[in-house]
Symmetry: D2
Subunit: 137 residues, 4 copies
């Protein structure tokens, strides 16, 4: 692993200052990332539910960090595809947890799979698969 | 069509006050919506590029308004699936336009197809297909 | 569980006689199906690789059987969406195994997640998520 | 365009002899392909409907030929992702037509968008987006 939890959290803060405070890296291993989206007013929709773009953003950041942990901070990885299924209404005003697995880390493409949960719940609110393009470096 | 452009814009303002000002309904017909995302600081990432969640959000809102125009403001339509391909870097700090087509409006599911463009550009920056679930009403 | 392995295999034979012999239900529980695609000439492409439609078909049948096991043989479940990532070349002329999990079984939609493997291999050749529509019954 | 309709049809016959006779290239331009799947017994399911794998296969072949027409017959293009929505039941025993557009032709990835129709019908039976990886050559 080329970046550990503090290195990833620090990288987020430097490179994505607008959103870094929203995310907390809970666990990072070679094949699994666990990332929290700390829910605040801006992530909510009427009724206290978490917005679709916020859930997409959590899946995207989780996959990104999982890949960076493997390839290091220099890589200009970009999302090329995301397929996301919204399955259940998130629990009102509850933080979201992404569990993201690395399915493939190729020379030019990486593929990941995420399940999103309302913290403390066992039934996932969404699933997402994301492909990142890894430019030569 | 059950809702025209002013009705849709008004609906957005009442129901999604946090984000309504970001979106402008340019065109709405029975089969095509053209919606603008007015880019501001919060949509950007380092280098002036538009964030992934902002592009997802534009595709999602466009599909939602296209469906609401057909079924009226009472429907609690929810996104069940989105597949999105990010194809090109958006032009720095430029507004984004979604062109969204209605492919199916069934009793319980609606399917749409969106292309996103940097305003004034001809090559799409992203494509997205979205499925909405339409609860009985 | 409303259908066990023999009931599912028998259902396939009666309802899909053209393809039933290609598939073997290895495991079926409330949340996981393990289904084998017995590779023969018709599934192959030049070089001995398994064709894309064959992999899609395996994921589709696996999700279908996993859902039928829960809702019973009367349901006219139909696939509404599939997102599939092809990640590695399958091992030449080797049977394929799908491991398919049930993520949601709602009143009108069911969502599943599949990983496909060349038998005996640990790295998945493809992943797929499928949504089925469950008509009222 | 590096390959015209006869060159593409000939390429299919040489490289994919098992399935070449199923497909007819109707139209090929720089941005649009129109490909027919000639329906026979093997593509059908009970009730005369076209199978999911057959629809997937038509979308996949259409995208492949559209890309080959641009990059020439040497390219080892492989499908990396497909998202497909099944929207309507195909007309019983009727040929299927794919209309496939090229959205991006990059150095390493190509993105396409397909609509599938029962021949003579105006409402699409399915939509699909496919990404191909183009290895360096």
């Amino acid at each position: 692993m080329k970046m550990d939890v503090p290195a990833l959290q620090d990288f987020l803060t430097r490179v994505f200052p607008q959103v870094a405070d929203d995310f907390e890296v809970i666990t990072m291993t070679n094949s699994l990332a666990k990332i929290k989206l700390k829910i605040s007013e801006k992530h909510l929709r009427p009724g206290g539910t978490v917005s679709g773009p916020s859930m997409f953003g959590l899946a995207d950041v989780s996959a990104y960090l999982l890949i960076l942990a493997q390839v290091g901070p220099k890589a200009l990885a970009v999302t090329t595809n995301c397929s996301i299924d919204f399955m259940r209404k998130p629990v009102s005003e509850c933080d979201l947890i992404a569990e993201c697995r690395l399915l493939k880390l190729g020379k030019s493409l990486a593929v990941t799979d995420c399940l999103l949960y309302s913290e403390g719940d066992v039934a996932p609110v969404a699933r997402a698969s994301l492909t990142y393009s890894l430019p030569p470096f």
